[in-house]
């Protein structure tokens, strides 16, 4: 290796770089660590350590409002993730495979815009539309389905970006070969393309699931009586000040999400490795 280090003396650069990364990660993880530690705090004062306790978890187990919110949030997140991946696959496929169709720029813009659009605007505009529709045809009532529609708008954008990146990296030869061998477009998609983008679909599903599970603003605009999601419960308590019950529910969520994400990424990394090995083997066999 003759690559030059791009910064001053090699040792200094390495140490400075490592230091910056460690400080950055400390900044990113400190709040999470604090949440977990203070969920075991016996003192009701949020910043004073009063010894170890599991009381907050016991209270959480009988916290009807929070548990009902969690159940509703999980249902909405599941539906959002499934629908986002479905619509996101179609949108990503359109953008990658069809280079010209009328209104493509508008379509690409509408797909990307919700990634950065302030959520207050998304929530307000969708609500005003649903209210107008409801006035005209008496449907839909505000509640679970309207929250789902809002989350789907955000989820679609994120899912499309993830799946699109994957589709673009695919070598086109495999699909062309399948087409040459007489496969019809749907067959090519289900037998060749889909297995190759399965990991991207899995990560898009997880990402949109956690996005939906987390959303406050859009849910607040679109929720109706009786449809209070968990983030709305947490938010209304957090607004009033520090609340140890929030720490306990936070720890539970953090543990579950970390486990799921770690397991999923290990699975994704493994199947990716296997796929690369298979492709290399195939290339060695038929040079």
């Amino acid at each position: 290796m003759t690559t030059r280090r791009a910064f001053f003396s090699p040792t200094f650069a390495r140490r400075f770089g490592a230091g910056w990364l460690i400080a950055g990660f400390a900044f990113l993880y400190l709040p999470i660590l604090a949440l977990v530690i203070y969920s075991f705090n016996a003192s009701p004062l949020p910043t004073v350590w009063g010894g170890f306790t599991l009381d907050w978890y016991r209270k959480l187990a009988s916290d009807r409002e929070m548990l009902a919110g969690l159940w509703l949030s999980l249902k909405i997140a599941f539906m959002t993730a499934c629908a986002s991946v479905l619509l996101g696959t179609l949108a990503a496929f359109s953008l990658v495979k069809y280079k010209r169709f009328s209104g493509r720029t508008l379509f690409a813009g509408m797909v990307n815009a919700p990634l950065v659009m302030p959520e207050v605007i998304v929530g307000l505009s969708l609500l005003l539309m649903l209210v107008s529709v409801q006035k005209a045809i008496g449907f839909p009532e505000r509640g679970m389905m309207t929250i789902w529609l809002g989350h789907l708008l955000l989820g679609l954008a994120y899912a499309t970006v993830v799946i699109q990146a994957r589709l673009q990296d695919l070598p086109p030869q495999l699909e062309e070969a399948a087409m040459d061998l007489g496969a019809k477009p749907p067959q090519v998609f289900f037998l060749v393309t889909l297995p190759m983008i399965a990991q991207a679909l899995a990560s898009a599903w997880l990402l949109t699931f956690s996005l939906s599970l987390d959303d406050v603003v859009v849910s607040a605009f679109l929720s109706g009586p009786g449809a209070t999601t968990m983030p709305l419960v947490i938010f209304s308590r957090a607004r009033l000040g520090l609340n140890p019950s929030v720490n306990a529910v936070a720890t539970v969520i953090i543990v579950i999400v970390s486990l799921c994400v770690t397991a999923a990424s290990l699975w994704i990394a493994r199947s990716e490795r296997r796929r690369t090995e298979e492709m290399n083997a195939a290339q060695r066999a038929n040079p």
Partner: protein, 307 residues
């Protein structure tokens, strides 16, 4: 098969058409409705209709009173300006922390990079609301970060800079707001920058060195210009949502930090004035439409380049 071409055509239209129509109905149409609402006036209980039938003719009544109120009331102007200001400060801070971070990540051992990337993404997967809430505990009197900062007498410095209201009081100030927003949006800056810097051809730096450039000069003349697309993408991903941010100002901000997202929220939920909230939203969209166009352009370019 006489219907060969049409069958293919039908498949193509369905693939494009389903997400397209969905976005037109649930993304574009709602904007037009917001625009319509913003031109109505608040009646006794509900906004007055724009279209009325009078003497057998359809009459359109558009009211600009909401916009006149927006322009006339200094509160709205202050809120817009301070939203732009806090979004800009947050973007610069994210860039200052995130650029070196992404740079060192991209230069770390290739075997370690997936793990580092995963560590950046992991907090992003855990609830954003809860992480913002956690800062409340850290910055409150007696919280970990507050203790360290006050112990190091940095609160005096922040007070002198006008970032906190009184020495030792860190919460509900411009300082706590900027810390919270920087924290929230830092991964959005790091990820596009890392994706960009990891692809940098290191031979270019070698060439620069062979031609006599010091590493510092090579960094500014080669690495930074080549990462321009990443810088722009990251900055837009931070700046645009920050302008309309609601949750962080609500939980960590205070009386000094009026942001337009909160104003819109209050107009809608507290005052129940939907037309006014719509007018606030329309002006907010106008403020971010230029950065939004820049973002879309770079996003599209990046996607075309990959293909």
């Amino acid at each position: 098969m006489p219907l060969k071409q049409p069958a293919w055509w039908r498949g193509r239209s369905a693939v494009i058409g389903v997400p397209y129509l969905w976005l037109l109905a649930f993304f574009l149409a709602p904007f037009l409705i917001v625009l319509k609402f913003s031109l109505a006036e608040m009646g006794a209980v509900s906004p007055e209709p724009l279209l009325t039938m009078a003497d057998g003719a359809v009459k359109i009544v558009m009211k600009y009173s909401n916009y006149i109120a927006l322009a006339g009331d200094g509160l709205y102007f202050t809120a817009y300006v301070s939203s732009l200001k806090y979004a800009a400060v947050t973007t610069l801070l994210c860039l200052a922390i995130g650029y070196p971070f992404a740079y060192f990540m991209a230069r770390a051992k290739a075997t370690r990079q997936p793990a580092l990337l995963m560590l950046v993404m992991l907090p992003f997967w855990t609830s954003f609301l809860l992480r913002v809430y956690a800062w409340k505990g850290l910055l409150e009197d007696g919280g970990w970060v507050a203790q360290v900062l006050v112990g190091a007498h940095l609160d005096q410095l922040l007070y002198a800079a006008g970032l906190i209201a009184a020495p030792g009081k860190l919460m509900n100030t411009p300082f706590s707001l900027v810390v919270g927003m920087t924290y929230t949006y830092l991964p959005f800056m790091i990820l596009p920058l890392y994706a960009n810097l990891a692809k940098l051809d290191l031979r270019l730096l070698e060439a620069a060195a062979d031609l006599g450039a010091t590493p510092w000069v090579a960094f500014w003349k080669v690495t930074v210009p080549l990462s321009k697309a990443g810088i722009i993408a990251g900055s837009m991903l931070v700046f645009i949502p920050c302008v309309g941010e609601f949750v962080t100002p609500e939980l960590l901000g205070g009386p000094q930090t009026l942001m337009i997202g909160r104003v819109l929220w209050d107009e809608f939920f507290s005052n129940n004035d939907w037309p006014m909230a719509s007018a606030v939203a329309v002006v907010l969209v106008l403020l971010i439409v230029v950065p939004l166009a820049v973002f879309n352009k770079y996003q599209a370019q990046a996607q075309e380049r990959r293909a």
